[in-house]
């Protein structure tokens, strides 16, 4: 029987008069990679924020490894990590210093070895003494990914992990994510606008629109269900349904 890594029950988030997330329910089994797709402002970031305990739900609950994030936040965050292009690491610290700080925060054992391993894997070794603020966006992105992998998280949440990367680096980062998942049976949730990336990486896809999950399933099943050629067309169909372009 599959173990559940993430279980979302009747989750709602209301900001003043705006309902950002409307009664969503889903569960993700351990070891799966799930894509979360939807137009800008559809509630993806709010949903991820609630999964990380950064945002308090108006109602409903988030269970990680069968524990409520509201009451077990610190313990659960120890086993999770998150990457987003919208948050950065301290710019004045070198790559090595940043990874050491975060490694210590998570209490990583054999930290030096772990940092070395991650820097090797993400091609960062030659820049290890460079300040993070001096790196290119592709290099920064890889440092953020290294920080997210430093605690070997059981659950990894990725918000547009390859945004602003050139195709070559983007492809490389996707390989790292695939490798991390397949070797360790990790659970990964990817919010992305890159349909090719989602088709390649994800076991299943959830489509969000206006705060609701309006469809979910395997990429090929969604493509066939909606009678389209690829996931991008499915996305456009769903987003533009009822003549609404977000």
């Amino acid at each position: 029987m599959n173990e559940i890594a993430i279980k979302i029950n009747n989750l709602n988030k209301k900001y003043k008069n705006t309902l950002a997330v409307k009664n969503i329910n889903f569960q993700i089994n351990k070891g799966m990679i799930i894509g979360l797709l939807g137009p800008n402002g559809c509630g993806k970031s709010t949903t991820i924020g609630m999964m990380l305990g950064l945002i308090k739900p108006t109602s409903g609950s988030v269970f990680i490894n069968n524990k409520d994030i509201e009451t077990n936040r610190t313990d659960l965050l120890q086993k999770m990590n998150f990457v987003s292009p919208y948050i950065e690491l301290p710019k004045k610290l070198t790559i090595e210093e940043n990874l050491e700080v975060y490694g210590r925060i998570y209490g990583v054992k054999n930290l030096k070895d772990k940092i070395f391993e991650l820097m090797e894997k993400l091609n960062l070794t030659e820049f290890k003494k460079r300040k993070t603020g001096e790196l290119s966006s592709g290099q920064k992105n890889r440092v953020s990914l290294a920080k997210a992998l430093i605690n070997d998280p059981e659950i990894l949440l990725l918000d547009e992990p390859t945004a602003s990367l050139d195709p070559d680096v983007g492809d490389y980062v996707r390989s790292i994510i695939e490798d991390f998942s397949s070797n360790n049976k990790k659970t990964i949730l990817i919010a992305s606008h890159n349909m090719i990336e989602v088709e390649r990486l994800c076991d299943e896809v959830m489509m969000m629109k206006k705060g609701e999950i309006i469809d979910m399933g395997k990429s090929k099943d969604l493509i066939s269900k909606h009678g389209r050629k690829n996931l991008e067309e499915v996305f456009l169909k769903i987003v533009r349904e009822n003549n609404e372009v977000s």
Binding site: L54, I55, L77, E88, R104, K131
Partner: protein, 263 residues
């Protein structure tokens, strides 16, 4: 509470300061300038004031202690603002920190920042102006502790505002102590204030601390009532500040501001 997390947060700020000459200069420059300025003012008053004429450096001692308080509070605020400016804020709150660990880490790191700034200035005061804080005797330890506690308390209130209202609250971070300084009776006795302001001023630990400094330097008398009053008031305000900080954190979670502070 886990020591490795507290140490990690300290390390983040240690690395930041270690490699930045402008930050070192900023830490040391202002306290030194303050001490030199107040050193000369103090010297002038010593020569031309009946009140101060037998007690060299009473103003300078007050200035050093006020700067210690100011640096404590600003250091605490700065540590938090650095996270906002570097857009590292969200990373901090998705890390498995307990709020208490963040408070302890920032409090300890702020003390180190404060000492980096104030120690050179204090050392300057002795050869240049013949003033030493050690003239305050053993009570100095309690006075410094009280000032530091109040500085951190103010820092906690300001940081709570940053959490609750975002970077727009930054201006308050810089001005918070200036608002309280007139009521703190740092350079003049409490009796200078109008009666109604004295009532308000007595609610601040600063009044008792600086009254005590004058009492020791002018009369060579340690008044433990003042010291205890300051400590008790500090305890009350510090407890309140922690409560406000926790509330601000919960409010920020409710408003969703933890995920995009700095934008």
């Amino acid at each position: 509470m886990k020591f490795h997390r507290i140490y990690a947060l300290y390390l983040r700020h240690f690395y930041l300061i270690k490699s930045s000459l402008p930050r070192w200069l900023d830490l040391i420059y202002w306290p030194t300038i303050q001490i030199i300025l107040w050193g000369f003012i103090s010297k002038f008053f010593t020569m031309h004031s009946d009140f101060y004429n037998n007690t060299a450096g009473i103003i300078l001692s007050a200035a050093i202690l006020y700067d210690f308080l100011f640096r404590s509070s600003i250091s605490f605020n700065m540590l938090f603002l650095e996270e906002i400016w570097s857009r590292n804020f969200t990373n901090l709150f998705i890390a498995p920190f307990k709020i208490s660990e963040i408070i302890v880490a920032l409090t300890a790191t702020a003390l180190i920042r404060t000492l980096i700034g104030i120690v050179p200035a204090v050392l300057l005061a002795s050869p240049f102006f013949g003033v030493s804080l050690l003239n305050l005797g053993p009570a100095l330890i309690l006075l410094l502790f009280s000032l530091y506690a109040f500085g951190i308390t103010l820092g906690l209130f300001v940081v709570s505002g940053l959490l609750r209202y975002g970077p727009a609250f930054e201006n308050v971070a810089w001005s918070s102590l200036f608002l309280l300084a007139p009521l703190g009776c740092i350079y003049y006795p409490l009796t200078i204030l109008p009666d109604w302001l004295q009532i308000i001023a007595k609610a601040l630990p600063l009044v008792y601390i600086f009254e005590e400094v004058r009492s020791i330097l002018l009369n060579n008398v340690v008044n433990y009532y003042n010291i205890m009053s300051a400590l008790i008031l500090n305890l009350i305000y510090f407890t309140l500040a922690i409560f406000v900080f926790y509330s601000a954190f919960q409010e920020a979670r409710k408003n969703g501001t933890l995920i995009n502070v700095g934008e």
